[in-house]
């Protein structure tokens, strides 16, 4: 859920829809305005003076409609794509973390605590397997150092 300026939650699909609608309206507006300026500057647009051949209907559609709309859609797709890093979940504080568990600096998963292999990959809302131990039940080791923080 996203937050609007007045604090009302806005769903992500709706926000994307608003952005897409804004892009489409802007594109259509540009399509109408840009040719209008060109026509105003050229009273001989139909080729009356003989130097400029008349623009065919197909060419006009291609130049003044298909090309701008295509470019606009291309740019819109570039900005409306889900994320700059495909496959990666972007972290936002306060939202659920549903990505897979990740280990760094460990050669292989065989080095991990085998009893926690099932528990560590649990996602929110999933039930703990019956054979997975409760980590809170383990006694603390006083020889182990470290620190803890939260945000």
């Amino acid at each position: 859920m996203l937050r609007a300026r007045r604090g009302r939650p806005v769903s992500r699909p709706r926000a994307l829809g608003v952005r897409a609608l804004f892009t489409a309206v802007t594109a259509l507006g540009l399509v109408v305005i840009a040719p209008a300026a060109a026509f105003a500057a050229r009273p001989d647009v139909n080729g009356v003076d003989g130097h400029n051949p008349p623009l065919s209907v197909v060419s006009g559609i291609l130049i003044f409609f298909v090309l701008p709309v295509g470019l606009t859609l291309l740019i819109a797709l570039f900005f409306l794509r889900p994320g700059s890093a495909p496959g990666a979940q972007r972290y936002r504080p306060g939202r659920d973390w549903t990505a897979d568990a990740t280990w760094l600096g460990v050669p292989s998963r065989e080095h991990h605590h085998p009893a926690l292999a099932g528990a560590e990959t649990l996602q929110h809302g999933e039930e703990r397997p019956a054979d997975a131990p409760d980590v809170a039940a383990a006694p603390p080791d006083e020889t182990i150092g470290g620190a803890r923080g939260s945000w």
Binding site: D100, H113, L116, T121, G146
Partner: protein
């Protein structure tokens, strides 16, 4: 239920480089876990640290639980002689600052660098350097 990768390939490379740099600088091992933790994070980290003894005697495990908004650093008894709890606390503080802004990769990278910088050099025992990882010179 797999919900997708936590990091992109570039982010993974950055994190692996940070871990490798810290290990090369200190000779200790700095594994990092990023994921959901059910239950107490401290106990989870201790149990995982016990499972990482194959890496060596000097291991500093960093557990980052984004869903629970908790970061826990645990050090083995040997690693604790070179890396104080106070230094771990400072690194944790720096990491949580970045995490609060949504920058997981930056927080982990900076935290590992701080941990490596705060690690004391290995003690000389009986005229020989203390055993470290393969990156140490004889």
């Amino acid at each position: 239920m797999a919900a997708g990768e936590a990091f992109s390939r570039d982010q993974h490379e950055r994190l692996n480089e940070a871990v490798a740099a810290a290990e090369e600088q200190t000779g200790m091992r700095f594994p990092v876990y990023v994921g959901t933790v059910h239950g107490d994070v401290r106990h989870f980290a201790e149990l995982e640290l016990a499972g990482l003894r194959e890496l060596g005697d000097e291991v500093v495990l960093t557990v980052v639980a984004p869903g629970e908004r908790v970061v826990q650093i645990v050090t083995t008894a040997d690693a604790r002689r070179r890396l104080s709890d106070h230094a771990c606390g400072l690194a944790t503080l720096s990491m949580t600052t970045s995490f609060g802004l949504g920058d997981l990769v930056g927080g982990i990278t900076v935290g590992l660098r701080m941990l490596a910088d705060a690690t004391a050099p290995p003690r000389q025992t009986h005229g020989r350097p203390a055993p470290t990882s393969s990156t140490s010179t004889p």
